[in-house]
Amino acid sequence: MTSKTTLSRRQFGTGVAALGAASTLPMPVLAQSQTIKIGFVTPQTGPLAVFAESDAFVLDQFRTQLAGGLEINGQTYNVEIIVKDSQSNSNRAATVAQELMFDDEVHLITATSTPDTTNPVADQAELNEVPCLTNDTPWQPHFFGRQGDPAKGFDWTFHFFWGLEDVISTFTGIWNQTETNKVVGALWPNDPDGNAWGSPDVGFPPVLEAQGYTLVDPGRYQVMSDDFSAQISAFKAAGVEILTGVVPPPDFATFWLQAAQQGFEPKVVTFGKALEFPQVIGSLGDRGEGLSTEVWWSPGHPYSSGFTGQSSAELAAAYEAATGNPWTMPLAFKHSLFEVAIDALKRSADPMDPASIRDALRATDYQSVVGPVNFMTGPVPNISKTPLVGGQWHIEDGKPVLEIVENGDHPAIAKTADVTLIGG
């Protein structure tokens, strides 16, 4: 429907830039004819929808701030963010990514939340040479899951998050602060996360052995199980005091209740995935007290948004005030995704030119609300690592509160409490 005059504009765009700059100041209307389109793929429905709860707030924030347009090289552009639902399905994510690229003709495509969303979108972007920015997937499944070559990296796709090595270091950091018999029980499911965490090469087992822990690993189970009796009896028999794993919330709830019913009482319980959201902890009631998890972001993180200027605490407070829901970790990552995207657009020589946006993304050196983002200094090309610390939940007045209890890798993020043993 819209008239496609961008090609002719682009040809003499640079020449007009100076003229445009002069005219924008008194009459912005004239220069707002060009629109930068950002595509955003997110799992709004389906099992991953909990990751997308903060979408509406973040999008609203950015749309409001960008309502007056974005000034790049003296010219003001409209910015339009087009959102597509992946339905928590990787095939669907690839399809909507194609729609964004071919039908909406976005200039930059973004995606968040688990390999099921970020990998297919990034694959499509790489194939069709559209600049792509993603986060909220540990970097190994994103990079190696897409057959990334550490020597070459990718041309069009950039990603920032932490990695498996950070989880291992954070979890053992929590455990090293406690007095236990160092017997670790593991609940790792037969899915990409469980297999990576339990891998004898890159996962927990070699690190645990090196640090003097005894590992009790009954084996990979199928997710969404209704019965964990076999694992519980194995853990009880081995005298497990530290329990870990990476399971979806229903599995944890089933396991944790069965553990109580069958008299299994570990002193330290540190899980990925299941224990990241306050809603899940709240649903466990008093049984949520003392559980620990990895923390990608919290209101106490000493970082601020480069876009709105809000500190982490202010961002969390604004979210809670606007939605009435407790803050969640994906909030800051959604925010940072658009922050970094806008930053790259601002630095691009010509935001209508894909290669120009790509080069600007590659040169990113930015202080975001989740920490510094720089794609040149990552463990592999196109990847930037964000800091990870450890946290423990406490139930105060019936509400879950997350305290930072382990910061060995990132001392800049302050500890707010010491690790306490469950039931002790």
Binding site: T45, G46, G219, D226, D227, S229, L257, Q261
Partner: protein, 287 residues
Amino acid sequence: MEWINAIVQGILLGGLYALFAAGLSLMFGVMRFVNLAHGDFIVAGAFGALLLVESLGLHPLLTLVIVLPVMAAFGYVGQRLVLNRVVGRDILPSILVTFGFSVILQNLMLEQFSADSQRLSAGALDTASFGIGSLSIGAVPLLMFGAAVAVLGGLNWFFGHTNTGRLLRATSDDGEIIGLMGADRRHLFAIATALASAVVAIAGVLMAVKTNFDPSAGPIRLLFAFEAVIIGGLGSLWGTLAGGIILGVAQGIGAQIDPGLQILAGHIVFLIILVVRPQGLFPKQKG
């Protein structure tokens, strides 16, 4: 001892599967109707209980007083208005319609309740257990098993000892002939769905106490329910209980060998029974 524990826990798990499967079994038994939205109806029942717990502060199990009749009424009206139109010789329209229901229901719940993982706490009952020797039996799993036996026993009694129950059995034998006897088939079908929905309400509330649920948790419940129905024999209520227990014990023993075998062991037993006895263990007598 570990093996005895695996079997006991497997039997209790079987009660859960039978409870999930009972409504499915009933609807199939009476009207040859496959309800693909069964799992989502269970989750809807759980969310209904959640609403009541949050607004009235009821104990989760007490919410059944309201959830059960509401679901039953909903089932009756739904059958009269919608599902009766697709009941017939061909099983495909019912599958398509209920598949659509499943999608609609999931998205309605997502819209209304968000994707948050929820659970209903039954207080001290959650973690209560008692020991027999070195076995530890949880109160909630036992309650679920008891509920399954009570529900299936109750339904069996209803079918054997009441007039409506006998009419339902007659419908099951030949739905077209009973019209000649002066019975209203549409009404009987709706009664069957109302009963099935009442069972779904019980399953939903107990599931909400047992584990976390969210709007997309339904379909995963469906597979084991189907397997329990088919192992037990289509349309046989006690067969469904037996099917659930066989499935639960197979999974328990599989998990004891290796947790990776848990689900596989259940599927293998299911396949073996399909090969050896395709009509299931206790098939309903064909009239």
